[in-house]
């Protein structure tokens, strides 16, 4: 954990590493959240950190999401750099007032007198049958709120570098992690390299279709791209990583090259982040598009419990693959 050689880190370890390195470097950084201390968080992300940093800087809070986020806002305004963990992103709904009306607006409402260098980490996602109140993906909500930044990294390297940037950003950042990615491992550079907020990552170059995917769907999309390649379809996969600010340029340039686009995320399709991306693409690359932008997302229901139903509701490789093929299929008409 931290220090020494680290050829391979899991997504979980990468989050922990960014937190720990920032806390080692900087007394203003601290973490707070429910069950993050002795237990190391419901997902084990902060395991061991209490031992290293003590209970003042690894703060267990009572179950009170509003106060937990709001307290972090107050500390941030006083120059600390708190990282508040909201255990499941479904519970962002409990802190929504503080995030939307307070954190996002203080700077603006004061005419620029203060800043709110706050990071709110949260996680969620389907895949473990947690049921409807522990699995929805709500990133789209926060993209709609001026004053926030919204990050959603999908790999160990990205999550480490972006969390670092979030902590040191002077604005409130809502930082989404995906539960099923915590075990994902990857070689990462020895030195933690901050990743600039607002830069998309092109995971794979391609010529025929661009898939813009976030979170778990990045991996499903890469698999779908591999599958499509066998059919002779060359797929470019772009992960915006930062949903707000959005790297429109990378996305639009890619589509101008491929002339086709698929947007994929786990959240419900309707009013999901893909709607925004599709709207941007059709606007900025209108004359380049050879097919409508396809959207891949969850079906319009809450997450059901039974695994067969849950599996059916959220998208996987197959749905992305089919969407890819629909966009190229239009050529044939």
């Amino acid at each position: 954990m931290g220090g020494g050689d680290m050829p391979e880190l899991s997504y979980r370890e990468a989050v922990r590493d960014a937190l720990s390195q920032a806390m080692r470097r900087d007394g203003d950084v601290f973490i707070m959240g429910e069950d993050i201390a002795e237990m190391g968080g419901s997902m084990g992300v902060t395991q061991g950190m209490l031992d290293e940093f003590g209970p003042e800087r690894v703060r267990n809070t009572p179950i009170s999401e509003m106060a937990l986020v709001g307290t972090a806002i107050g500390a941030a305004i006083q120059g600390m750099r708190p990282v508040a963990e909201v255990m499941y992103e479904d519970f962002l709904t409990l802190a929504a007032e503080q995030i939307v009306n307070q954190a996002a607006k203080h700077r603006y409402m004061s005419g620029g007198q203060l800043k709110v260098p706050l990071t709110i980490r949260t996680q969620g996602g389907a895949g473990w049958s947690p049921g409807a109140q522990h699995a929805q993906q709500l990133e789209a909500w926060f993209v709609h709120i001026p004053g926030l930044k919204v990050l959603f990294p999908s790999t160990p390297t990205d999550v480490r570098g972006l969390l670092w940037s979030a902590i040191y950003d002077d604005n409130p950042v809502v930082f989404f992690e995906h539960r099923t990615l915590y075990g994902l491992k990857e070689d990462v550079p020895d030195e933690l390299e901050p990743i600039p907020i607002g830069k998309a990552r092109v995971h794979r170059d391609g010529e025929d279709v661009t898939v813009i995917a976030t979170g778990r769907l990045v991996h499903e999309s890469l698999a779908a791209a591999g599958q499509a390649e066998e059919d002779g379809v060359s797929v470019e996969v772009v992960d915006p990583r930062t949903l707000q600010p959005l790297d429109e340029e990378t996305i639009v340039d890619s589509v101008k090259k491929t002339n086709r686009a698929v947007v994929a995320h786990e959240a419900v399709t309707r009013m999901g982040f893909g709607a925004e991306v599709a709207a941007v693409i059709q606007h900025q690359a209108f004359d380049w598009l050879d097919a409508p932008v396809e959207r891949v997302g969850a079906k319009f229901v809450p997450l059901p419990f039974a695994p067969v139903m849950e599996e059916f509701v959220v998208p996987h490789q197959a749905e992305v693959y089919e969407a890819i093929m629909r966009t190229v299929g239009r050529n044939g008409d």
């Binding site: 429910e34 069950d35 201390a37 002795e38 237990m39 190391g40 419901s42 267990n60 809070t61 009572p62 179950i63 009170s64 999401e65 509003m66 106060a67 479904d90 519970f91 409990l94 473990w128 049958s129 947690p130 049921g131 409807a132 109140q133 522990h134 079906k299 319009f300 229901v301 809450p302 059901p304 419990f305 039974a306 695994p307 067969v308 139903m309 849950e310 599996e311 059916f312 509701v313």
Partner: protein
């Protein structure tokens, strides 16, 4: 502040029934742990081993037409409210025969017909609806009571505060049952509660409170009867604080690294409500074993029922969204 007093005692016959029910819940939840370890059960599971007297004591005090709202730790409440073990187990296996037809899972056990308005996976999430159900009863002049179960941890969340305030203000027939098991997940009282006596949280709304040993089912039952009576009689809501113990992890599979060494062992020896009742009833080994056998049989049957149940079709997921 109004006083709510317990009255009467509980017949031995009734206590024996309670015993069988508590034992059934215990065996059911032990089976859940076992089936989880066997990799058969998806989702997040929380058992209430050690808290059986709370579930049974309160639910047996209810009358026809009363309703409950439960929490993430819902198996006991659900069984005690009358749902058959088969249906609860089938739900945990995600089957159509489950009490929520596979849509809910362990944290969302509903049985509306039997007055179970549902378990809630959001801490405190079910409290306002309990007030609302009670409000409906009051507006329609029905002699029914709505009961919310929740934990010590839930008394820290805004929903709790707003709900109790409204309930008392509007004098609705509700009973708020706080099962204080001294832990909220990994967080002990001293890390979440700046007070020791949680009835002070009811006093902040002028709500009468009762403070009871939740491991003694006779106490629980008698206080629940009194609290329900009070509420049903139009005298407003009651806060019923049950001191209890979670004789297991927060969730099934929890290594409990946060628990002080020895605590669990000691509590299991001194605070098991089933042992307590068994001793009080002076059950012979034979009587105990008979009850135990019956419980095991019911539980085994529930597993068989569940496994033989019908998996939903994937596209069933698109049903039941809108009325």
């Amino acid at each position: 502040m109004a006083k709510v007093e317990k009255k009467g005692s509980v017949s031995e016959e009734l206590l024996r029934e309670f015993f069988r029910e508590m034992l059934l819940i215990r065996r059911f939840e032990e089976k859940v742990e076992e089936r989880f370890r066997a990799g058969e059960l998806p989702g997040f599971l929380h058992v209430a081993i050690g808290q059986e007297a709370c579930a049974v004591g309160v639910c047996r005090a209810l009358e026809e037409g009363d309703v409950i709202a439960s929490t993430h730790r819902a198996h006991g409440h659900t069984l005690a409210k009358g749902t058959h073990p088969n249906e609860v187990m089938a739900e945990l296996y995600g089957k159509l025969e489950g009490t929520s037809h596979g849509y809910g899972g362990s944290m969302h056990l509903y049985d509306v017909e039997r007055g179970n308005l549902g378990a809630n996976a959001v801490v405190g999430g079910g409290l306002p609806a309990t007030v609302g159900a009670a409000l409906a009863f009051k507006m329609r002049d029905e002699p029914r009571v709505a009961v919310a179960f929740f934990g010590d941890g839930a008394t820290n969340i805004g929903t709790f505060h707003e709900s109790l305030n409204l309930a008392q203000l509007w004098q609705v027939p509700a009973v708020f049952v706080c099962e204080n098991n001294h832990w909220a997940e990994s967080t002990p009282a001293k890390q979440q509660l700046p007070i020791e006596d949680l009835t002070e949280r009811a006093a902040a709304y002028g709500m009468p409170a009762m403070h009871v040993d939740g491991q003694e089912i006779e106490e629980v039952y008698a206080s629940a009867v009194a609290a329900l009576d009070h509420a049903r009689g139009g005298r407003g809501p009651v806060f019923l604080l049950l001191e209890t113990y979670r004789l297991t992890g927060h969730y099934v599979g929890d290594p409990q690294v946060y628990r002080p060494k020895g605590e669990l062992q000691e509590l299991r020896e001194t605070q098991d409500p089933i042992t307590k009742l068994r001793e009080k009833l002076e059950l012979s080994d034979e009587e105990f074993e008979q009850a135990d056998r019956e419980a095991h049989e019911l539980v085994e049957a529930s597993v068989e029922f569940a496994k033989a149940g019908t998996d939903p079709r994937p596209e069933d997921a698109l049903k039941n969204l809108y009325a």
